[in-house]
């Protein structure tokens, strides 16, 4: 390897680091904003004042007001809690659940493995949102049920990654050494397997945040997620669709909020993937 190549590589690695810091900070800011949303709103997001209903964006109300005269900026900020928080919760659930099932399958093998993998095949046989729609439809609306619906269709991917990684780990020399030295199964799984397989799984879940946020918003948009008056971006959009012709800012501000958040999490996900796996860079 020539010196020029090495230097080029170093520059590239540094640029990935810079991106990682920038997008990481942005994502943390979004999350903080969703946690402290109540304290950040300029107005009360639920306070109705019909005298200022449907006003366009102005210096007083940066994103205008909705049909009840509620400040849109405040509503969008408060909406971040339902949207961002439930997405992160959803991703955490599928990551933990999928990984647990995958590790158990890979470690145990035999009948349990076959049964669980066939079940995951079953879930994978349903196209995309179709099954989530049905689950949400059966359970009825509500943010909680939307999370359950999306978790039901998303865990098999994680189970598969975790399973194949565990199988690979099982064959390594240190695993045999650990077994020979008499480590218990629990210790082997938590100390030797999990730390070694968690990388690719976390990268996958980072890449999934954006998609999950959009799907959750889509369910809410269809009336199968958060219900009004709770401010959630997807339901806010479907709620105000009838006003789109006369006051488009009411419908589009939550949409832009979704777009920006999804983009930040997607950028972060891509950067983390590049950082973890330099081969995929620029793909």
């Amino acid at each position: 390897m020539s010196e020029v190549t090495i230097r080029k590589q170093r520059i590239k690695r540094d640029s990935v680091k810079v991106r990682l810091i920038v997008f990481g900070v942005l994502a943390v800011m979004l999350i903080l904003c969703s946690i402290f949303s109540e304290y950040l709103t300029p107005y009360d997001p639920y306070l109705q004042d019909l005298s200022i209903a449907k006003q366009g964006p102005s210096s007083e109300h940066l994103l205008g007001t909705d049909r009840y005269g509620r400040d849109m900026l405040s509503r969008v900020i408060v909406g971040s809690r339902a949207s961002i928080f439930s997405t992160l919760l959803l991703v955490a659930i599928i990551t933990v659940l999928g990984t647990a099932i995958g590790v158990i399958c890979g470690w145990n093998g035999k009948v349990l493995d076959t049964v669980l993998m066939r079940i995951s095949d079953m879930f994978l046989a349903f196209p995309g949102l179709v099954f989530a729609l049905a689950v949400a439809g059966c359970l009825g609306g509500g943010l909680q049920n939307a999370i359950i619906a999306l978790a039901a269709i998303s865990w098999p991917k994680y189970a598969r990654i975790a399973r194949s990684q565990t199988l690979a780990q099982k064959e390594t020399a240190w695993m045999k050494a650990a077994k020979l030295s008499g480590s218990s199964t629990v210790k082997i799984i938590f100390v030797h397997i999990l730390p070694n397989i968690i990388g690719p799984i976390l990268v996958t879940s980072m890449l999934d945040i954006g998609t999950m946020m959009m799907e959750l918003a889509a369910l809410s948009f269809l009336g199968l997620g958060a219900k009004p008056p709770i401010a959630e971006w997807g339901s806010m959009m479907s709620d105000t669709r009838s006003l789109m012709t006369t006051s488009p800012w009411i419908t589009f501000s939550p949409g832009i909020a979704i777009f920006i958040s999804v983009m930040i999490f997607n950028l972060l996900g891509d950067t983390i993937r590049d950082y973890a796996d330099p081969k995929s860079r620029g793909r």
Binding site: R118, I119, D121, M122, F123, A125, F126, P127, G128, L129, V130, F131, A132, L133, A134, V135, A136, G137, C138, L139, G210, M214, A217, A218, F221, L222, G223, L224, G234, M237, S238, R241, M244, T245, P248, T251, F252, G255, I258, F259, V262, M263, N266, L267, G282, R283
Partner: protein, 313 residues
């Protein structure tokens, strides 16, 4: 190859059983109050009438018996009647299916037209301005929820410019335009990246350098070798995305009032019309499984390495 086809068909059986069982169990769990749905409040009707209705609908039999009866009915095209309209569920579903299939086909067509040339262009102009520009757009497209795109397009083309109708009136070119475009934008954004990655990988192979060293012009290498060998992967990736499209049409159909199965399902969910939801889930899953199987078999039939048994998998 024959063995492989047989193997794949045998694999289909447990998956189909799984799909039907899962759909049935889910609806039974949710729709156990079918009688209440039918008569309104439980207290309003006598116990005997409820029991009689339960016997008539077969709800008093054990779960597995009910499941088998339901699967048997499904095979004969009998999936019960809608709680809301009282019409045959299967007939209604089949009558709406062509509209959804048309929308899916149009979106795939448009995706191919948009994403393959752009993806190849981005790969050829790798790490130059065109590449960054196209990747930026693909990234933006990937971060936009499709219902937002739908509303944006509606705002621009129907409300501001008044070129196209806001809601579709029957199956016409004008009303198909916006839903197709919406679905194609999201799909192209994702697909363009995959096309780019596939072509780029092929361009980095040794034979390309070899051909260039021998003085073969780049465009000849691209058309004769690179595209030919990456097309198979590209087509497979496209086929695999059909599933997401089938699910994604539901929301777009209900926004644009496109009269297909997606809108039917969303309406059914709002009205808690369980037999209708059931039909939608089961049939969409079956269509998806069949499409995937066909693609897989085609892939195997087309790839000479696999067809001739040079290497397995």
């Amino acid at each position: 190859m024959k063995k492989y086809v047989l193997h794949r068909f045998l694999q289909l059986i447990p998956v189909l059983i799984g799909i039907t069982f899962l759909s049935f169990a889910m609806m039974r769990l949710a729709g156990s109050d079918a009688i209440i749905e039918l008569y309104g409040d439980k207290g309003a009707v006598a116990e005997e009438i409820i029991a009689a209705k339960q016997a008539e609908l077969g709800l008093d039999k054990p779960f597995l018996t009910q499941y088998l009866a339901w699967v048997g009915g499904m095979m004969r095209g009998d999936m019960g009647v809608s709680y809301v309209s009282g019409k045959e569920v299967f007939g209604t579903f089949i009558s709406k299916l062509p509209a959804t299939l048309l929308l899916t086909a149009l979106s795939i067509g448009m995706t191919v037209v948009i994403s393959i040339p752009l993806g190849v262009l981005a790969a050829v102009r790798h790490d130059r301005f065109t590449d960054y520009f196209l990747r930026f757009f693909s990234f933006v497209g990937n971060s936009l929820p499709n219902f937002f795109v739908a509303l944006l397009l509606m705002q621009v083309f129907s409300i501001k410019l008044k070129w196209l109708p806001v809601i579709s009136k029957g199956l016409s070119v004008q009303s198909a335009m916006l839903p197709t475009l919406t679905l194609a934008i999201a799909m192209s954004a994702k697909y363009m990246r995959q096309v780019r990655a596939t072509v780029l990988e092929e361009l980095n192979k040794d034979y390309v350098i070899g051909a260039k060293a021998r003085g073969v012009r780049s465009c000849v290498v691209l058309w004769k070798s690179v595209l030919k060998s990456s097309m198979l992967t590209i087509i497979t990736l496209l086929a695999l995305s059909i599933g997401n499209l089938l699910g994604g049409t539901a929301i777009i159909e209900s926004i644009f009032m496109w009269d297909g199965v997606g809108k039917l399902a969303v309406d059914a969910i709002t009205m808690r019309d369980y037999p209708m939801i059931q039909a939608y889930v089961v049939w969409m899953a079956i269509i998806y499984v069949i499409v995937n199987l066909t693609c897989d078999l085609l892939y195997h039939a087309l790839d000479p390495r696999i067809r001739l048994g040079v290497s397995e998998g």
